[in-house]
Symmetry: C2
Subunit: 368 residues, 2 copies
DNA sequence: TTGTATGCGTTATCAT
DNA sequence: ATGATAACGCATACAA
C-alpha cells in the first residue's frame, strides 16, 4: 500500500478529499475534469473552486491505470545535439503538447544497444513511439512494433507506418547543378552505414552522376559529425574531386573548416553542398544545402503517430516529406587550379594559421 | 473499468497471467522483479522464463500508483536547438537513464507562459523537475517548487536547490585578455533580459572593464540566436568597440557572419569571444569562448535532483560549476584601422557578396 | 444531473 | 520462502 509513504506533511490532495470538501461524490469531481458537459455549470464551478483552493491535481498514474491511456509518447533519436534531430524533436514535442501528449526523450548516442534499452524502458509508459533514423536491425524493430504502436522516421520497413524525408530528388538536383557549373568529378561524403537516409542520398548521387557522365568518388564519414567531416578533407582533396555533396550540414561544416585550414576558399577552390538547412544558414559563406524542414517533419511525425493511435489497426501509412535544394554561396565553377595544388601551397603560406591551430589545441587541452 | 479497451487481440500480459502460468502467486512474480533476494533462485528462474516467454512487461502506471514513485523526471529548457541546452539535455538524460529514470522533455520556446503550462502538465507524472534557465518570475517558480521537488539550473532562488554554471570569472578573464591585447573599448552583446546567466556575465564584464579602465558598451540581443547576433553587427561597429564578448557562441557566430558580410575579418579587424564551447570549435576561425562543459553540467543537474529526491527535506543545495576561458583564434590586438572604416570600404569591394546574400534570401523564400 | 460500486495492475503488509 | 489481500487514485457502467 501507499499510505506508509505519506509521512511527509504535504501529501498530494486526492479526488476524495475534493469530493468531501465540495460536498459531492468522487465521480462528480472526476467528471468535472473529464466530462464537464455531463454536469451542471454551478456544480463544475464549485468543484473547480475547491480543487483550485486545495491545490488538487489529478494523479497521472491512477488515471493511466484506469483508462489504459498514458497521454505520453516517446521520441528516440540518435543524437540530440545534431541540429537536424534537435529541430525535429522541437517540432515533434510542440505538436505533441498541442495535442495533449507529453514527450519522453531518448538519446541513443548512435548506438543500437542503447536504442534497444530505451525502447524497452520507455515502452511501458507511453501510448506510442516515434523512432527516428534507427540503426537497429529490422527484426528487432518489428518486435518492438509488435508490442507498442510505433512509427519510423527515415527508415523503411514495410508493415510499419513511416515518415520519409525524401531527399533523393534534391540530391539529384544538386548533382545536376554541379554538372551545369562544369564539375566533372564530384564526391559524396556519406554518413552512418546503417542509415536509410545515407543509402538514399548515396544512390541518388550515384545514379545522377552516372547519367550525366560524372566521375563519383565515395568517402565515408562514419558518424555524421563535424570531426569526421574535417577528417575527410585530405582524402577529399587527393581524390581529384572539385566539389562534394555531404551527408548533412554538420559534415559539410567540418569539411569547410578542413578546407579553410588548408588555405582553400569555398566556393572559389572547392564547391560544397550539405543537407538539413539548420546549420547551413549559419556558416560563412552560407552553405548551399538540401533543406529538410526538420521542424515541420517532427510535427508531422507526431501527427502520424497520433493517427496510428486513434485508428486501431488500419493499414500502415507511408508518408513522404519533400525537401528542396537551396543554393546559397558555396558552389561555383570548378577552379582552374587543382584544389590539391592550392592546398599544398596554402600549407606554406598559411603557416601561422596552422601554428595558431596547434597552439590552440594545446591550450584547450590544458584548460579541460 | 479497463476491460472494455481490450478489444484488440494483443492485450498486454499482466502479472496475474504470469503467476498463473508459472504456478505461483502474483506477489511472487512481483518480487522476482523488485526483490529477487527474497526468493529462491529456482523460483526466480521459473518466473523470469515465463515472463520472457509471454512477453510480460510491468505496467508502469500500476507500479507508480502503488509505490508513489514514477521513475520519471522532467527537463524543461528554453530552446532545444540551442547547442548549450542540447548538450545539457544529452548529459542530463544519459545520467538519468543510468540511474533508472526516464526523462520528459519540455521546450518552452523561450516563453514563460509555455514554461508554466509544461511545468503544470509534467509535474503530475514525475518525481522531480529540472528547470533550466527559467524566465519565469520568482513567485511562480516557488509555487511550482512547493508542489514537486524541483531544482534550477542557472537561476538563483534562495530556498531552491540549484546548479549554477559560474561564468563570471571566465568573463572577467576574457576582459583582462582583451585589455592585455591592447583593446580600450569593448562591447558586451547580451542575451535575454530575464536570464540569470546574462546578468551574471554582464556584471562580470562591467566590473572588470571598470577596474581596468576600459570603455564598455552594452548591446542587447533579445533572444540568444544567430539572427539577433547578426542583427547587432551594425550597432557594434558604430559603437567604436574593437572587440566584443557575446552572451553565447550562437550570438557570437551571428556576429562573425555579420562581420564577414561587411568584409571584416576576425580577429584582424575585430576580436570576438563567445560562451559555451559547443559551436565554438566548429566555426572558422575557431571561436575563443568560455567553455561551460554543458554535457557534464546536465549530468550534475540530474545528480542534484536525485539527491534532493532521496534526501527528504534537507536544506537546499547550491552547486557551483566551473567554466574556463578557452582561447582559440578570434582575438588579437586591435586593428590600427577602425573597423567601421574597413567595413564601409568593404561594402564597396564586397558588392557581389552582398548581392549573393540578397539573391539567396529570395531563393530561400521561394523554396519555403 | 448525480451517486454507487467496481476494476485497472502492482506493491507491501501480514500471515504461514 | 511464499501466499492472501488490502490499498494506491481515478474513470466508468449502471442505477437512480
Amino acid at each position: 500500500m501507499a499510505a506508509r509513504r505519506r509521512d511527509a506533511g504535504n501529501a498530494p490532495v486526492t479526488i476524495t478529499q475534493v469530493a468531501a470538501v465540495a460536498g459531492v461524490s468522487r465521480a462528480t469531481v472526476s467528471r468535472a475534469f473529464t466530462h464537464p458537459n455531463l454536469l451542471r455549470p454551478e456544480t463544475i464551478a464549485r468543484v473547480k473552486a475547491v480543487a483550485e483552493r486545495t491545490g488538487f491535481a489529478p494523479n497521472a498514474a491512477a488515471r493511466a491505470l484506469s483508462t489504459g491511456r498514458a497521454g505520453n509518447i516517446a521520441l528516440i533519436v540518435p543524437d540530440i545535439t545534431n541540429p537536424f534531430f534537435a529541430a525535429l524533436m522541437r517540432g515533434a514535442q510542440a505538436r505533441a503538447r498541442d495535442r495533449g501528449y507529453a514527450t519522453f526523450l531518448g538519446d541513443s548516442d548512435e548506438t543500437p544497444q542503447l536504442e534497444d534499452v530505451l525502447l524497452s524502458k520507455l515502452a511501458a509508459q507511453v501510448d506510442g513511439i516515434i523512432l527516428v533514423s534507427t540503426r537497429l536491425k529490422r527484426a528487432r524493430v518489428e518486435e518492438h512494433a509488435a508490442r507498442r504502436p510505433l512509427i519510423l522516421v527515415n527508415r523503411e520497413i514495410p508493415l510499419i507506418s513511416r515518415l520519409l524525408v525524401d531527399t533523393a530528388p534534391s540530391y539529384a538536383a544538386a548533382v545536376e547543378h554541379l554538372a551545369a557549373l562544369g564539375h566533372r568529378c564530384i564526391a559524396y561524403v556519406g554518413g552512418p552505414a546503417m542509415s536509410w537516409s545515407n543509402r538514399q542520398r548515396g544512390e541518388a548521387v550515384a545514379g545522377t552522376a552516372r547519367q550525366l557522365g560524372l566521375r563519383l568518388v565515395r568517402i565515408g564519414a562514419t558518424r555524421p559529425s563535424y570531426e569526421s567531416g574535417e577528417a575527410c578533407t585530405s582524402e577529399l582533396l587527393t581524390s581529384g574531386a572539385t566539389a562534394a555533396l555531404a551527408f548533412d550540414d554538420v559534415v559539410a561544416q567540418g569539411i569547410m573548416a578542413g578546407l579553410a585550414r588548408r588555405g582553400l576558399s569555398v566556393p572559389a577552390d572547392f564547391s560544397l553542398i550539405g543537407c538539413d538547412g539548420e546549420v547551413a544558414v549559419k556558416t560563412y559563406p552560407p552553405l548551399s544545402s538540401v533543406t529538410t524542414h526538420c521542424f515541420e517533419a517532427g510535427a508531422r511525425a507526431t501527427d502520424l503517430l497520433i493517427d496510428v493511435l486513434s485508428s486501431g489497426g488500419r493499414p500502415p501509412q507511408r508518408v513522404r516529406f519533400a525537401s528542396e535544394l537551396v543554393l546559397r554561396a558555396t558552389t561555383a565553377a570548378p577552379s582552374l587550379r587543382p584544389a590539391i595544388w592550392v592546398a599544398s601551397r596554402g600549407a606554406e603560406v598559411g603557416v601561422d594559421v596552422q601554428a595558431a591551430g596547434a597552439a590552440m589545441s594545446a591550450k584547450e587541452r590544458a584548460a579541460s
